[in-house]
């Protein structure tokens, strides 16, 4: 494989990381944030494998008939990537389930709205309204679907 191809892959991996992180920072939608995270992880994995690549080498599998002394690529980064991929999917599942629950409770996927609702809930729990404190937390009570005015009110309260 040529120098050019390696550089292309390097740029690809780094761009994937950059796109992922950029998307993660800029997205307000919870679902999109999860997607962006998995993009960035894919980029990081690619980077790791790229680091272990060795030119003119074969995959680290000893095939019958081949000499044991053949040059092979570095197996350790590959093992690390295997681990990292599985870790990534576990975290992704967890994040998705949290997003689902948060969506069910707050009726939105917008991070900013959710954050302000969360702040309100925390202050509520901190004693502003005894009724919504410890014994009846916001997650337990059926929330009405948020209508536009309510949202505006929330935004106003936040600002």
């Amino acid at each position: 494989m040529s120098e050019f191809a390696l550089l292309t892959l390097l740029i690809g991996a780094l761009s994937l990381i950059a796109i992922g992180i950029g998307g993660l920072v800029l997205s307000r939608n919870l679902f999109r944030i999860v997607l962006a995270l998995s993009l960035a992880e894919a980029g990081a994995n690619l980077l790791l494998v790229l680091v272990g690549f060795r030119r003119d080498a074969i995959a680290p599998i000893i095939e019958q008939g081949h000499a044991l002394t053949a040059t092979m690529v570095d197996p350790i980064p590959q093992a690390m990537v295997l681990t990292a991929i599985v870790i990534g999917v576990g975290v992704q599942a967890l994040a998705l389930s949290l997003a689902i629950r948060a969506y069910v409770a707050y009726g939105t996927l917008d991070m900013n709205v959710m954050r302000s609702r969360m702040e309100t809930d925390i202050s509520d729990a901190a004693g502003a309204q005894p009724a919504t404190s410890q014994h009846a937390p916001a997650g337990g009570r059926p929330l009405p679907p948020i209508s536009a005015p309510r949202l505006a009110h929330n935004k106003g309260a936040q600002g």
Binding site: L9, L35, N45, L46, V49, V81, I100
Partner: protein, 96 residues
Amino acid sequence: MAWADLIILIMVVLVLAGAGAALFLENLLGAAVATALVSLGVSVFFVILRAPDVALTEAAVGAGLSGLLLALAAKRLGLWRIEVQQDSEDAGDSSC
């Protein structure tokens, strides 16, 4: 420039385009599919980089399983219906 290099270049561009699509597609389900495709593309890179184990895993886990997870979650989030999704984008209205 060798053919192999050109193919790799094109694939990289495609994967990056897929990543862009995952971020900019209005339809979140489509975005999830784009993410899975990016994973698939990356797994091809793994094959090129002599990492068949990783490629297999990335294809199975990154593209397949995680795509499935995303799709299921998107269903729970009501993203399969596009009009609802648009509502939730700008007003957070829920019809769940």
